[in-house]
């Protein structure tokens, strides 16, 4: 043990003595790297397709130099700049005079968010028309879509909603949980396709979903739940006063953690893929094209393996978001007879 510490200390000493030699690299430190990681993951105002990029409309609610607010819709960033009222400062379109109050443009992340929502809606409407026609009720379910829909719906109802939410109330929340699960799964899996953007790799998208969960959780809170938040029973008086800010902060950190967990998982997967494939270009820049060819074999195989992991993580994160939403709703909708402390107090006194 002492010998290991001694060796570790000597290694660190050696490393610290050799770092001044790397000062010479400082001149190259400001060069542009051949790949732009954050630029690829960030929101774009155009859609990338295999045939080129389609510009998306920009919608500004802005206040011009004369102080009047107006809502302007442009077909693309280029037409916004061509109208003379806006200019491109460092890749951000901003007005020549005045400032933007709200930027309501349609970006690629918003497009994919809407695409997933519309896909889920279309699937559900199609299955609904089948059920009304009697296919799933009277006779057996027919076709791939209806069977898959039943698999996921029964999974959400029996494994996610029922164990976590009160038996009398869980049926009200199954539609929301199913929608959230399918939307996040669609968005995550769409992001795996080439040329498309992962909508959940954007904190605003995941924050919007977490806000929906937060609103539903608060609206399903029983009197028992609010009593617990503001006046925690079963502990001494001083601890009760201390628990009030703790519980109130806890109300907000839980959906915040939901949003960050989904965002971080999706964004880290995307950044890893871009970085590992970008190694090829960086090697090309630094060491020449032979090294780039050599590293491309390793990079592409690693990327393929990472894709499998990302597929698993996409579906798992959708499930985790739904499961935790169900748990939070269940904790808020807990009614008095099922409460453990009251059960103990009533059945032993």
């Amino acid at each position: 043990m002492i010998q290991m510490l001694r060796r570790l200390f000597l290694t660190l000493l050696f490393l610290s003595a050799s770092t001044p030699a790397t000062f010479a690299l400082d001149e190259q430190a400001t060069s542009e790297s051949p790949i732009d990681i954050l630029g690829t993951v960030a929101d774009h105002d155009n859609l990338q397709t295999p045939f080129g990029s389609i510009p998306l409309p920009r919608i500004f609610y802005w206040e011009n130099g004369a102080g009047e607010s107006q809502l302007d819709i442009y077909k693309s960033s280029a037409s916004a700049i061509a109208s003379g009222l806006f200019e491109d400062i460092d890749h951000v379109v901003s007005p020549v005079s005045g400032h933007i109050i709200v930027d309501l443009s349609i970006t690629s992340h918003l497009f994919f968010f809407w695409l997933s929502l519309i896909s889920v809606l279309l699937v559900t409407l199609y299955v609904r028309s089948l059920y009304i026609g009697g296919t799933g009720r009277i006779s057996e379910p027919k076709g791939v879509i209806q069977n898959l829909f039943e698999v996921f719906f029964v999974f959400i109802r029996d494994e996610v909603a029922k164990p976590n939410i009160d038996d009398r109330k869980y049926a009200r929340y199954v539609p929301y949980l199913f929608t959230v699960f399918m939307t996040i799964a669609f968005m995550n899996v769409f992001g795996l396709l080439p040329w498309s953007a992962t909508a959940t790799a954007d904190i605003t998208v995941t924050a919007a979903l977490a806000i929906c969960t937060f609103v539903i959780t608060q609206f399903s809170g029983t009197k028992n739940h609010w009593g617990h938040v503001f006046w925690f029973p079963g502990v001494p008086f001083g601890v009760k006063i201390l628990m009030i800010p703790v519980e109130i902060i806890g109300l907000f950190t839980k959906p915040f953690a939901l949003a960050i967990r989904l965002f971080a998982n999706m964004m880290s997967g995307k950044i890893m893929i871009i970085a590992i494939l970008g190694l090829i270009f960086i090697f090309n820049d630094m060491f020449g094209s032979t090294a780039a060819y050599g590293i491309s074999v390793f990079s592409v195989i690693l990327t393929a393996v990472l894709y499998i992991l990302k597929l698993f993580v996409s579906l798992l994160q959708a499930y985790i978001f739904t499961l935790l939403s169900a748990v939070f709703i269940g904790m808020a909708a807990e009614s008095e007879e099922d409460d453990e402390e009251h059960y103990y107090a009533e059945h032993t006194a």
Partner: protein, 72 residues
Amino acid sequence: MEYVYLAAGFGAGIVAIGAALGIGMIGKAATESIARQPEAAGDIRGAMILTSAFIEGVALFGAIICIILALK
């Protein structure tokens, strides 16, 4: 001398150690419990996945901060 990249690298490494330790302990407890009581395997698996997601969420908080540090 850009110490930001060094800090981001060390931070990400420490975050990975924390997450791996936590999830490893959960895995150990989960497999031992399933070995003791195979009928409860479904419940234990659910609890294991749920708790791993919490720990991974916290680990990715740290990882995101390291990414922001390194790419700013």
